[in-house]
Symmetry: C2
DNA sequence: TTGAAAGCGTTACCAC
DNA sequence: GTGGTAACGCTTTCAA
């Protein structure tokens, strides 16, 4: 039963050298058709399974790409992961996945752990990392891609969009429809950096429009989702009437807020506008449909995967690649 | 810059043998405190990174556990994955993730691919696999865990619940509140096996209650979600009045149906009851809250992880383990 | 078209 | 407490 069948066993069985087996199994053209067929048949019969560990060891190429996401309990990041899987799967690269739960400390631990597997490239989320994480990555000469952001000082390559700029359209639309008094609902503190960026974008845009400062409301430690969005509305209670728009860090938060409003009989968008972020499936399905910003989460994964493929196949000529994936306002019925 | 610092380099630097470096770095007690500190310092200074590939090769232990899920774009499976990560991370095992997109053919391809990495255990979703997949796994002597189901003929160990039984409570509750005419909304065909099981459970329970046969409505190829749930209600249109309850294969489908009803002015649960499955976050947050079945997705991951840990540490004595994780009806406002 | 030898970085095993 | 030797399964390189 044990996985003890090696190329040597197959070779012995067929009566050739292990080298020939190696070539035959990888489809090397220099092996005669006859020998190759015999070898393939013997390998199947003996239950031979190729040992990628040995191959990775010998070739000093792991075939891994490390991918680090904040969380998979988030349809946006799950979509990015799907995009990456689709592209990288085609090139025979395997994803080694880590999730940080929005903590740079955890990120460092995971980067350290994944690097021990000698990935051929590493893909991080966001542009903010611990000093040690950066040093760890700088010391290696594998390609690094940061995605979901456009950091001012990227470690290596970049695939993403400006989280602050992406909010401008939301604010513009709210202002154009006569809204004046905004609250921003997002995670407490700074651990969701992309959320903080969105918040910054909202505050600046509001200021440019000459509005009163936006009330920034921390609704819980990252990650925040529907539950926190709903609870925030409950907690605000009567104070909700101070605002005419809730700008939420994500569609899940926005939906939570929307549902809580429905529960309290606050009509959206008549009494209160609500906007989300990320173009989650729920934004389009909810009734009323959420106004949101599509940031093409799946395409970010595809673009990052393609970038890696291109770099590893050698035609990047050492330049720092940068792909802007853009964003697009999706006008819904909640604003 | 290149990752070329090996134990030999560290050894040479310190003036000991590679063997001593190996021992020192792994915290083997037989190395003197002084030597160990010197070695640790030198390793850091030289930027040494442990090579897990080499270790896996030499020890013939990869440190990997293969985990195969239908999809990560599903909060339930994402939660299971999180449970697995939490447990396995503590024991130093790394997850090698594959997603099948609900296809047994794709599953076979992925199993084959992951087995080449010589995982120490493999965790599959569901009890239905291709003949070749079973053979592949039988031929290996690594522990196999099937989760999210209780197959009649498991390959190895099991962590899960009966998808058909879990629906009985839903039907009972609907019947108790006077509902009589049911439609089941799920994926077309048989690729979502757990969905098909739920459907079977519903049909049987309805029959036991002496009701008319349940209308089984395929709303699209798996995976189905909010969009398909909403579209199904649109498509049914006037025919919707033939039913007094929509039993949905998941909460996402149920929410889509609910939202579409709200859009069409069909009041839930007055005109129509709707039930979901899985206790997704949205079930509790939505207004009205969805009646659903909690199947403890996170706990399934934890239980499977613990099972693997136990088996790999040797105290399972060759028996076939089986853990029932149960389910619980969560009465909402939609039924 | 096929084969022999060497070695990738680590550690089990046995000496000392 | 420490070191030497061999080996894990494969492929690069060179030779036939």
């Amino acid at each position: 039963m044990k996985s003890r069948v090696t190329m040597r066993d197959v070779a012995r069985d067929v009566g050739v050298s292990p080298m020939t087996v190696s070539r035959a199994l990888r489809g090397d053209g220099t092996v005669s058709q006859r020998t190759r067929d015999t070898i393939r048949a013997a390998a199947n019969r003996l239950g031979y399974v190729y040992d990628t560990t040995a191959q990775a060891f010998r070739a000093q190429k792991s075939g891994f790409v490390a991918v680090i996401l904040p969380s998979l309990d988030n349809a946006n990041f799950a979509a990015t992961h799907r995009g990456l899987t689709e592209v990288l799967g085609q090139t025979g690269l395997q994803i080694l996945l880590g999730s940080t739960n929005y903590s740079v400390v955890e990120e460092e631990r995971i980067v350290r752990q994944l690097l021990e597997r000698k990935p051929e490239a590493i893909i991080l989320t966001g542009g903010h990392h611990s000093r040690d994480t950066r040093d760890l990555l700088d010391a290696r000469d594998i390609p690094v891609v940061e995605m979901w952001d456009l950091p001012a000082e990227p470690i290596g390559h970049t695939v993403g969009f400006s989280n602050s700029d992406a909010m401008v359209g939301v604010v513009d639309q709210l202002v154009a429809s006569g809204r004046k008094r905004f609250a921003f609902l997002g995670a407490e503190g700074d651990s969701d950096r992309r959320g903080s960026e969105r918040c910054r974008g909202v505050c600046q845009a509001a200021e440019r429009h000459g509005l009163k400062p936006v009330d920034v409301i921390g609704i819980g430690p990252a990650p925040v989702s529907m539950t926190e969005g709903a609870r925030a509305v409950e907690t605000l209670g009567a104070r909700l009437s101070e605002y005419d728009a809730l700008i939420c860090v994500s569609d899940t938060v926005a939906f939570g807020a929307l549902a809580a409003c429905q529960r309290r009989g606050i009509s959206v968008p008549e009494h209160l506008a609500i906007t989300g972020f990320g173009a989650f499936e729920i934004a389009a399905v909810a009734c009323p449909a959420l106004t949101t910003v599509d940031v093409f989460a799946f395409d970010i994964g595809v673009a990052a995967g393609n970038m890696i493929t291109r770099i590893l196949s050698g035609d990047s000529s050492g330049t720092r690649l940068r792909v802007e994936t853009g964003y697009q306002l999706r006008q819904g019925e909640t604003s």
